[in-house]
Amino acid sequence: MSEVTLTINDKEVKAKQGMTILEAAQGIGIDIPTLCYHKKLTPYGACRLCTVEIVRGQRSRLVTSCVYLVEDGLIVKTESEPVIKIRKMLLEMMWARAPGVQVIRDYGIRYGISRTKFEIEPNFCILCGLCVRYCAEVKKKNAIGFIGRGTEREVMFFPEIASEECPKCGECFPLCPTGVLPSNYALARVPHFTWELNPFATGNKVKET
């Protein structure tokens, strides 16, 4: 496979064609924050934390580095001002959903955030989809998936498959960046449990006034 040369944060980088910017950056030790990337899984582009700025000629553009493929002559800035602005805002939004979660706090420290301006409405799921995609792509079981859309979207164990597969697997648990998955799974196994009882159910639909 042919090689391309690009510049990331003023460093010249050689990368294989077909690689993403994120992979090329990781290759030379540049850490781009991300919460939904996993090297075994198809890029998903949902958390948007890995947004970077690319420059071609006079024009600059904000792209998601976990999806954008390297190009010859591309100039990438992973920590430019507009990028940081976006990351700060996204972290504050996720903070409101998953307060106290270590990985979000760590990124918060990196970008100078120690609180969120948004109301805390925790459900501890940031819908990164790692569990869902791992189950589908690596395990090929589809025991867990998304239901609902918009703010009502949530992750759900599908009982018919989950009752068979999950007790012997559980490989998705350590992938969960907020750690809520194992507890939700445990709750799902409580006899007579209904999802309405789930203290972490999203339930954040805005009421029409």
Partner: protein, 641 residues
């Protein structure tokens, strides 16, 4: 019917249809589009069938259930050809009179005619101001054909553009024509269709797809629906020509399940086209193969986004893809896929038939041809209008739309649906085209045009669109899900009178991130309704936040109803009509509203007789203390005892 095996076959067939049709025969066109259908057009049509039978006119009068005529405000619309007499708001009980007066005695039924502001009656459809200022090149045939009849379409020259393309042009020539015509996508973005076609044509891979995007979902917009319902063959012909130019042999129509009539008429059209040899193998004997599959959407606004639509056609959940590769190169099953909107496809046969120069002669420098708008909201003549690009908003809203009802003042017009923006009065003379609207902070979008009068609260409007988007976003990416949600919460807060200093700036700050960081265009354009209303109506936002006042008197938390004790004549009407019994008083006793009980439904204001005019809506001021219970009314002089 044997298959049509050549262009000559098609032409002969057309001649045969025409020789069997007498242009002077009386023909009654009954609009059966969705709007008129809701008015009961089917009952009108049945009444015509029965009455014609009863009057022994069978065989002498044709009845045609057509697609949408556009003047939906005045349905059911009935047009009698060849004179083109247009009757509006026709009810089944009007039918016997129409038959006896117009069809038998050849006289007009005056009361069903259009009446202009000066009391002048207008007989012909084309002379009604609503139609007169339009240029209905794409939409105009709707009133002439029965969408379920291929013969009707062919009689009007249908599929001649396809025959021309297949037999007298190479695919490259067709492509060049469309490129040169500068036909821009009518679905929203305005991307040049020819360039998109070329990308798909040149993309590597033998198998290519062409797709019709009929997932129209903007609130209040229904032009694609009406076109697909009323003239499905025109869309199909455009798609066929595009497929030929691109080198595709498989097409898809992604149509909303919520459009049952469109799905039905489309299915019928596809069946007819296959039967006549206009679809499937060896089309018109040219050796070109092409077939179409209809994919019915499961009701998600986001599925109109191109990558989400293609994911849905693949049979998966319709969610946008994060890829930076154009679907024209890698779309359905990673094959080159060219997606265009219903109206774009329907325009193609016209360009091929009438030529590039004709098409370029309509419109502005950057935007050629016409655009169909769905003109709705606070405007007298609601309906579908097709105007040349470059017509001003004023002409559309006032000349065609007939202005604002009840003498109210025009405030703003919202174009482009939830992704678009609001344009205020100062832009009324803005020529409508892709670029001008974008410069004004709105967009063409698919052609929704919602007119607002002084009684519309712009903050409430932004809130409405954000609420729509929050519910319709897929929820996949953080800015699209949490960003829109947080913006909506702020807007809710402002409308509830709990807005804080700094909320406007926070809205702008979140908007920027949602616009720049979202996965797809739904998120990327979601802040538009908020940003454009802040841009042009910042004072309204400030009134809500600082003075707790809703200038338009819409936001319930910020308004109160009050009965002026000096004007109240104790007529008991509001007291009786109040649904929550919040009004105290009695016979001869001044009425007063118990503010704690009041649910602000506005009934009292509506029912208070105008000669008393005692109930007022207050906003931003304290409600005066009510008079002591049992206070007697001050009788107006001349008022009845």
């Amino acid at each position: 019917m044997p298959k049509l095996n050549s262009a000559t076959d098609l032409e002969k067939f057309r001649q045969r249809i025409l020789t069997h049709r007498d242009p002077n025969k009386v023909s009654v066109a009954i609009c059966s589009g969705t709007g008129c259908h809701a008015y009961g057009s089917e009952k009108v049509a049945e009444a015509f069938v029965d009455e014609i039978e009863r009057n022994g006119l069978r065989g002498k009068v044709d009845i045609r259930r057509t697609g949408c005529h556009g003047f939906c405000e005045r349905g059911t619309i009935v047009v009698i050809f060849p004179e083109e007499i247009c009757y509006l708001r026709v009810k089944p009980e009007d039918v016997p009179e129409i038959i006896s007066t117009t069809l038998v005695e050849k006289k007009l039924v005056d009361r069903l005619l259009y009446e202009d502001g000066n009391g002048q009656k207008i007989v012909h459809e084309g002379e009604i101001p609503f139609y007169k200022h339009q240029n209905r090149i794409v939409f105009g045939n709707n009133r002439l054909i029965d969408p379920k009849s291929l013969d009707d379409y062919i009689a009007l020259g249908g599929y001649s553009a396809l025959a021309k393309a297949l037999f007298r042009m190479t695919p490259e020539q067709v492509l060049e024509e469309v490129k040169e015509a500068n036909l821009r996508g009518r679905g929203g973005g305005g991307f040049p269709a020819g360039i998109k076609w070329e990308t798909t044509r040149n993309a590597p891979g033998e198998i290519k797809y062409v797709i019709v995007n009929a997932d129209e979902g903007d609130p209040g917009a229904y032009m694609d629906r009406s076109l697909l319902e009323g003239n499905p063959h025109s869309v199909l012909e455009g798609l066929l020509i595009g497929a030929y130019a691109i080198g595709s042999h498989q097409g898809f129509v992604y149509v909303r399940q919520e459009y049952p009539l469109a799905v039905e008429n489309l299915d019928i059209a596809l069946g007819q086209a296959r039967e006549y040899g206009l679809l499937d193998k060896n089309i018109l004997g040219s050796g070109f193969d092409f077939d179409v599959m209809v994919h019915r959407g499961a009701g998600a606004f986001v599925s109109g986004e191109s990558s989400a639509l293609m994911t849905a056609i693949e049979g998966r959940v319709g969610e946008p893809r994060p890829k930076y590769i154009r679907s024209a190169v890698s779309g359905i099953w990673e094959r080159p896929s060219n997606l265009n909107n219903v109206e774009t496809w329907a325009t193609v046969p016209l360009i091929i038939n009438k030529g590039v120069d004709w098409f370029r002669g309509i419109g502005t420098e950057g935007s050629k041809g016409t655009k169909i708008f769905s003109l709705v909201g606070k405007v007298n003549n609601t309906g579908l209008v097709e105007v040349p690009m470059g017509m001003t908003l004023r002409e559309v809203i006032f000349d065609i739309g007939g202005g604002i009802p009840k003498g109210k003042k025009f405030k703003a017009v919202q174009t482009g649906g939830p992704s678009g923006g609001c344009v205020p009065e100062s832009f009324l003379d803005l020529p409508i085209d892709f670029d001008e609207l974008a410069k004004a902070g709105s967009m063409m979008g698919s052609g929704g045009m919602i007119v607002m009068d002084e009684d519309t609260c712009m903050v409430d409007l932004a809130r409405y669109f954000l609420n729509f988007l929050a519910e319709e976003s897929c929820g996949k990416c953080v800015p699209g899900r949490e960003g829109i949600y947080q913006m909506l919460k702020i807007l809710n807060r402002i409308c509830e009178g709990k807005g804080k200093e700094g909320d406007i700036e926070l809205l702008e700050e979140i908007s920027e991130v949602v616009r720049d960081a979202s996965l797809c265009a739904l998120g990327g354009t979601a802040p538009n309704p908020v940003l454009s209303t802040i841009r042009y109506f910042r004072d309204e936002y400030e009134a809500h936040i600082k003075e707790k006042r809703c200038p338009a008197g819409v936001c319930k938390a910020l308004i109160s109803y009050y009965i002026n004790p000096e004007k109240c004549q104790a007529c008991l009407i509001c007291l009786r009509d109040c649904p929550v019994n919040a009004i105290t008083g009695g016979k001869n006793l001044v009425h007063a509203i118990d503010q704690d009980k009041c649910i602000k439904c506005g009934t009292c204001l509506e029912v208070c007789p105008t000669r008393f005019d005692a109930v007022v809506k207050l906003s931003g001021v304290a409600v005066p203390e009510p008079v002591a219970e049992g206070t007697e009314v001050v009788r107006k002089r001349g008022g009845k005892k």
